[in-house]
Amino acid sequence: DGERIAVFTKNQTNPFFLTVRLGADAAARQLKATVVHYIPTKADSIPEQISQIEDVIVKRPSAVVLTPVDFKALNGAIRKLNEANIPVVNMTDRAEQGKFVNFVGAADYDLGLATGRYLLRKLGGQGNVVILEGVKGAVVPNERLRGYKDALKEFPKVKVLASQTANNQRLQAVQVTENLLQANPKIDGILAVNDAMATGAIEALDGANRKALVVGINGTREAVEAIKAGKMLASGDYNAFQHGCFAVMSAVRSLRGQPVPKEIAFPARVIDSSNFQSLDMAPEKMSCLPWESVVK
Amino acid sequence: MLSPTRTDTSVPVVELRGICKSFPGVKALDEVSLALHPGEVHMIMGENGAGKSTLMKILCGAHTADAGEFYHQGQPAKMADAADARRYGVAVIFQELSLVPHLDVGRNIFLGREPRGLLPGQIDLPALYARAQGFLDMVGSAIDVRTPVHRLRVAEQQIVEIAKALSQNAKVLVLDEPTSALSDREVESLFKVIRDLRHKGVAMAYISHRMAEVFELGDRITVIRDGKHIKTLMPAEASPDEIVRLMVGRTVDMTYQREFCNRPGEAVIELKGVGAANGVRGVNLVVRRGEIVGLSGLVGSGRTEVARAIFGADRIIQGQVLHLGKPLPNDPAKVVSCGIGLIPENRKTQGLALIRSVQDNLIVSSLDRHFPTRKFSMRKAATLAAELIARLRIATPSSQRKVGNLSGGNQQKVVIGKWLSADVDLLIFDEPTRGIDVGAKAEIFELIDGLVKQGKAVLMISSELPEITHICDRAYVMRHKTIVGELSRQELTAENVMRLAVHHD
């Protein structure tokens, strides 16, 4: 029987991680390994993920694939994994410390920069924009926000009217945007650090009968639908499915003594009405890219 | 240990002068004075709501007076809170029990005065239990000091209260209706303790609605009416009639004469071998239209449990309850719609929603009767309530007043009122006169009499034997959670009841 891989994701509510898990499962099927998923019962709970890692160490899986719910808080748990000599692949969100087989993910900063630039160029380098920030203190939204801000620096004529958090949530994004639309008669662009908030902002725009260019990041199915319908300008592709694939592949390859690069980062790619087709399908139908097509 | 510091009975230990106290809408006390002398039992008499409990609460610092002076050993003193009262040696046994249910007997006796251990705040538990045992022995009780109080019966709790008061080395002891929950035997041992304390020079204020106690114990009697001091007199110069006249301001017939019922009607309720989850077993009983049936027995014999089982408040596990020949459902709401009402033993916790108005409480049982379509009308409710308030002479400034602000007796009238409003066929009274003054008692009996004359039936539980022997057409006597005998009108004497109620072997 094949390798047993324990895969840790952050929550069971965000479709992004569902896609990641499906990718992991697909890779495991290909490689004849087994995957067991561990997800905190409370979304993004740090103490729970730590406990789950401790419990899993007792069971000694062949390898672990870990998306830490927090940049630093999992350091202790990762150290325990290392001490127990269980190989660990770091997936999607980078951990601060620890020995890892490799990192599989995307560069959030680059995604923010690329997507931000895309919108600002479409605005012709001028106009008013608002930013919808994500959960405070989490690395991913922070990095993306940094990317957006750096993109804005390149377009000094664009004015940022407001930068408020909607906590990565769609409903909050609807309400925050509604209020911002009231406060600001002219908004030309909305930069959301994830697609859930971007689609929320679109709802608010529709409700108020206003128009603005909206971008988000992740490339979720919902965003693809919106792009297809012409309601959303673009979304930064996060390659969720491939994260799962390549993390599990990396783990299995390293167990089998095959070479694995230290870093597999999918390039920042912006999806718009011209190139959404590759993502326009159910994640169940997706398949892993060949290892060699990504790792050169 | 309890030796009096002064034997001079002329200087009061504590004295209240010109005390006034108002609650929103009521002047509870108006210029009342009271002096408590060492070695005397001072009886405080008055109708419900006269202000007796309020006066006692001021005496022990639970309420602060709006005006008036306080003297301790003849000297002006300050009386701001319970701690002051404790300094002057005032201890109280309240009308409403003041025990903590989930602490044991010993800890309750010394609550707030625990013997100190080594560490800061630590209790010296062995010393506490030993001393608590001593005080329980003094009242002749066999209760274990480590029993949590919530496991004790009401009467046993009352005894713990007394031991608690004793343990305070009181110079002044206030007893607010201490016997209302006690059986005769326990009353006797309480009286023995009171006489002991009197001998040791303790000053006592004693509130009771039982006339017999007044003459058995009292050294001095003060009558209060409508928050005013009416008269202080010696037992020798007073007769029961005289005291009642002073209390109510008119003459009242206390003998509760009534025409007994010769030809009772159909059986409203019949119990056949009923056993319930609350412990009663093999109960056979029948109540017919037009009669008042008593249910007697010692405290703890299971009378309340029988009432609750009939009413559906406790689950019936064997036997049958028949209502007009048909099985009665085991659910209070359905029992009420069959026309049966229960006036429970504890009005505050079981009878009333204290935060709601008099009106709301009066109509809650008869909503289905008065509003059969379930469409409610505030106006109609107000009219109904006003009628009941007038009919029962409930002393309240308005039908919108919170029931919690009424005096005990008036609260009891509200509980009765809600069943009058529901116009039930059978009323079960559990201690209907507990804490009720003589005037109100007479009124309540008149009411009960009126009900049975209209062809309704009454089952009455009472711990006061005269009530059973004078009022009832028949009575059942209970012992050990079952009925041990039935007495017809002719056999219904105090001796016969006691013979059945008390276990001889």
């Binding site: 789950q52 808080a73 150290r79 | 639970a62 602490l103 705040g121 989850a277």
Partner: protein, 321 residues
């Protein structure tokens, strides 16, 4: 032997079972089930895990028991753990020593506890509302402090603490044990303990005994705050960081543990050792299901079923007696 331990914890064998039959039944069934279905449950390392994982919840559930006995509730725990943890972490970040950080964290908790106590006792705001308010305020302040960022540059001493051990026993377990012992002493061996029972059982009785109700309430919430402060540093130690939101909702877990252990929300009726059992039951369930690799969504359902089942069993017992 066990009987002696139990007696010291406030009840003898049969009484101990009678107080919270549901939790005993569930603990026994779960432990048996997991011992049979996994080969790792009954191993030393796993039981150590279980203890260490439960320690934080116990540190909160102990004071919660006292608060609930006093007919109160403390909804602010999660928020205050966050705030005090952030403050302690920022102290460490600016170079303070570990003991200083503990003092600061505990101090913060104490201030929040005192505030709760004052609002409940003097302003007479119902505890649910008062502590709900404090929850909001603490959570807000924790977010505002660093604009929602966690504080991660806390040095090495704090992270090391949680995984350290003394004479072979993990430090968190020792701290939880000492905390239990102190709480037990306070509740069952001091006047203050009697006063807490009186707060829930019969406040008037305490007042009439010359006691100061406000002082007791403030004491209860201050004690709770103190323990919350201690927890905040332990929690930060587990995460190697001060985090503004990770602890939110912990108070509900603590309340569930207290209720599982047979403490009722009225009349000052409760049992401190039962709380330990409640914490353990939650810990065993989660640990065992992880060992089984149980799907997470079913784990969520199991927690709810555990709580309902235990309370149902307790209720059945009450009804039949």
């Amino acid at each position: 032997m066990i009987d002696l331990v139990l007696r010291r914890c406030g009840a003898a064998w049969p009484a101990a079972i009678e107080r919270a039959p549901g939790i005993w039944a569930i603990l026994v069934v779960l432990a048996l089930a997991f011992s049979v279905t996994t080969d790792t449950f009954l191993t030393g390392p796993n039981l150590t895990n279980l203890g260490v994982q439960s320690s934080i919840l116990l540190l909160l559930a102990l004071p919660m028991t006292l608060v609930i006995l006093s007919e109160g509730i403390d909804l602010s725990m999660g928020g205050v753990v966050a705030l005090a943890g952030m403050v302690a972490a920022s102290a460490l970040a600016s170079g303070a020593s570990l003991p200083t950080a503990f003092a600061i964290g505990i101090g913060c908790g104490l201030v929040a506890g005192l505030w709760n106590g004052v609002v409940v006792a003097y302003l007479q705001v119902p505890p649910f509302v008062a502590t709900l308010g404090t929850l909001g305020m603490a959570q807000g302040l924790a977010l505002v402090m660093t604009d929602g960022q966690s504080i991660t540059n806390v040095g090495d001493a704090l992270p090391a603490l949680f995984s350290s051990s003394l004479v072979g026993i993990p430090t968190p377990l020792i701290i939880a044990g000492v905390a239990y012992w102190i709480t037990h002493f306070i509740l069952y061996r001091t006047r203050f303990g009697n006063a807490i029972f009186a707060m829930g059982g019969n406040r008037e009785a305490w007042r009439l005994a010359g006691g100061n109700v406000a002082a007791v309430l403030i004491g209860v919430y201050a004690f709770s705050g103190l323990m919350v402060g201690l927890t905040s540093v332990m929690f930060a130690s587990r995460m190697s960081a001060g985090h503004p939101t990770a602890s939110l909702g912990l108070e509900f877990d603590a309340m569930a543990a207290v209720a599982l252990g047979g403490t009722s929300f009225e009349r000052g009726n409760g049992w401190l050792f039962g709380t330990v059992l409640g914490v353990l039951a939650i810990g065993v369930l989660r640990n065992g299901l992880n060992l089984l690799g149980f799907p997470s969504s079913l784990q969520v359902i199991s927690v709810g079923v555990l709580v309902l089942l235990a309370l149902l069993l307790n209720g059945l017992k009450r009804q039949s007696s």
